[in-house]
Symmetry: C2
Subunit: 412 residues, 2 copies
């Protein structure tokens, strides 16, 4: 009956898969509770999955679904016609107030990514692109860090993204192929995806538990172009898979999720690190060949083959933007990593390999006594530094060293 859905580009995937995926996102992902207001965010190209997620949320007892379409083409028009760079910074107060209200009202959120298709902004001035704040307002990071909403971010294939990931295929095949990738990394190809994820969460819990018991003093990364030591707090807490809101609702902030992560000591990072995969900023800008040198926790030198201006604009945002807020380990069993595909999407690419994040730390990854020392910033930018040829070694407080990852496998 709905011709707009039938002729939609997402027709590359069966309606049954869309429904199955929507249920996973609403139940395991955001874990929508009866009576909650639920935001479902996507682009017009994501309409079939937005609708399926809204339907799943109402079936789960949602009080109201706020289907929030962000249009990256309208953002593009704004940047193209901007009379001056400063003009791009304005956002109506109601946009910021609404994000804060999502936290105050303890809402659930399902965010389909990418909201900014990779490639769409490549031909524009990177400094201008970085200046336009939407769709990721500082208020969004604020409610994530406050842990007031039960949420999930998950990949939603669409044509522009698909042709970037699989540039050698015709558009239709690229989209079908990207859907296959997403079905695989989100474990929709398992008989019971929710159970498959609970099994994977249990696997990830093992090294997570050992790292938390050992309370190492630092991690050392060594590989091609990388020789970096990252200091940890005595109370740095490793986390994986699930998160819990202040109201006690368990959820999976990212699907897929293959990482163990914690907050490092922002005053102790020293050495050089070379990114192992490209990085796509929330502004849509792409950063290739990133090399960062740290001294005393601070990124004192940042180089890149491409995208440096956009990254520097972000790093200039505040003092914490040049220090680390997250260190994350990903093993070789990651389904994302095994595909050996560059997805041009942080959500997927960060789950392919160990990574660091510049900017704000997740408060729950540090003990209360040291939480004030965890890094603070308006930004949180993950960049991938791991791979089979990057060794990760832990340095214990007694001076001994313990292998953590060797050839992509846990050595711990």
């Amino acid at each position: 009956m709905d011709a707009s859905t039938q002729t939609s580009p997402s027709g590359a995937v069966r309606a049954e898969t869309i429904t199955r995926y929507a249920d996973l996102l609403v139940r395991l992902g955001a874990n929508v509770q009866p009576g909650q207001i639920v935001e479902v965010a996507g682009t017009p190209a994501h309409a079939p999955l937005v609708r399926a997620a809204a339907d799943a949320a109402y079936r789960a007892g949602a009080r109201y679904v706020d289907a929030r379409y962000f249009d990256p083409q309208v953002r593009r028009a704004r940047i193209v016609h901007a009379p001056a760079a400063e003009a791009l910074e304005f956002v109506p107060a109601w946009e910021r107030e609404r994000v804060l209200a999502l936290g105050e009202e303890r809402c659930a959120r399902v965010v389909l990514t990418p909201l900014l298709p990779p490639g769409l902004f490549d031909d524009l001035d990177a400094g201008l692109v970085a200046r336009e704040p939407l769709p990721s307002l500082p208020e969004s990071l604020q409610i994530v860090m406050a842990e007031t909403t039960n949420w999930t971010a998950a990949p939603a294939p669409e044509p522009l993204w698909a042709t970037r990931v699989h540039p050698d295929l015709p558009a239709d095949e690229a989209l079908a192929r990207l859907w296959e990738d997403v079905e695989h990394v989100c474990r929709l190809d398992e008989p019971d995806p929710e159970q498959a994820w609970r099994t994977r969460f249990a696997q990830l819990a093992e090294p997570t538990g050992r790292l938390n018991e050992a309370r190492f003093d630092a991690l050392h990364f060594r590989g091609p172009g990388t020789d970096l030591t990252v200091g940890l707090f005595p109370t740095s807490r490793w986390t994986s898979g699930r998160a819990t809101t202040v109201a006690g609702i368990e959820h999976s902030p990212n699907l897929p999720t293959e990482e163990l992560f914690t907050a490092p000591d922002p005053s102790r990072a020293d050495g050089v690190v070379t990114s192992t995969r490209p990085l796509v900023l929330k502004s849509g800008a792409r950063v290739d060949g990133l090399v960062v040198r740290f001294e005393g926790g601070r990124a004192v030198d940042v180089q890149a083959d491409a995208g440096l201006d956009a990254l520097r604009a972000l790093l200039g945002r505040d003092e914490g933007a040049t220090r680390l807020g997250e260190v994350a380990l990903v093993d070789g069993d990651s389904r994302v990593g095994a595909l050996d595909t560059v997805f041009w999407s942080t959500l997927l690419d960060e789950n392919a390999a160990s990574h660091l994040a510049l900017g704000h730390a997740y408060p729950r990854t540090v003990g209360e006594g040291e939480r004030q020392r965890a890094n603070r910033s308006e930004i949180h930018v993950d960049f991938m530094i791991g791979g089979d040829d990057v060794e990760v070694t832990a340095l214990a407080r007694d001076g001994s060293s313990v292998p953590v990852l060797r050839g992509g496998a846990w050595a711990l």
Copy 2:
């Protein structure tokens, strides 16, 4: 480059037409001023025109475009899964606050219609459908009546609507045909559409001026199933074509617009009136064969062949919902009327024929001294009562009668 646009259903029309239409809506329609925030509202099926209007608005100097996609399929899911009728009434406070902010900030608005495709809700309980308030919140009517925003509402073809208007054509042809209809009624087929509209506004200004000079006491409608007298205020002001905001910005609230309208005296309507075209409520419900009997200005009996429950739910909203807020005259030169097509959309159908509206009156259509007596309500529902076989006669204050419309032509 944008595959989602290329494969969009709106591909039935040339990109050039979309751009031309968007420019008309932004310039003649909303008359966007440099520095304004501009809302562009549509559905995901309207994406190409939403994007073109956003682009046109930025070219016109907009400070920020709030592209606001409303998804009627998500509204449908809500109604289908509603645990109880009352549950449908809830709307997050931020939705209402944002609409009021559009007025407070003196924003411009471009609204693409229909936001609720006719037919999409036909198989659902009409009482439930009428209970779900979106996308037309009372706050939206409030800012229209306050004349704080310069705005336009205009038709935007999409597949569901097209198949309802042209049910005998294959889907693709129906959409192409509806685009042809819209190009014609919006005068996009003229060499200079903006100039063509200014010429039509001048034509409409002639009878408008004569009605305002004459200050008739009442209008009498006589036709098949219709014998109704509608009283006018001594200060009822006839209006056509253009409106002006409190800040003095001229705009065209509706495109197309073919009507002369004013506010009647809500205490003086007597007789029976039979609608000459079907009515589609904002809730999406359709009302056929409407017959209303008025006594002392009040609709004391309302009958219909279909859709009566949905209409009655609206009429029960408040006291003013059963009284008249508008009487409008449309002559036979209307391009909409000449097509002799039922568009299942009030915006178009009301411009095909003379009509009445139950509910709130436009304040500017009554002199200040009598403005307090104009009808007030949360609703404003237009229904068509005119046609070539409906005679309209004015009753002067001296008791004489003057023909106004005969056979669709001005007799005034």
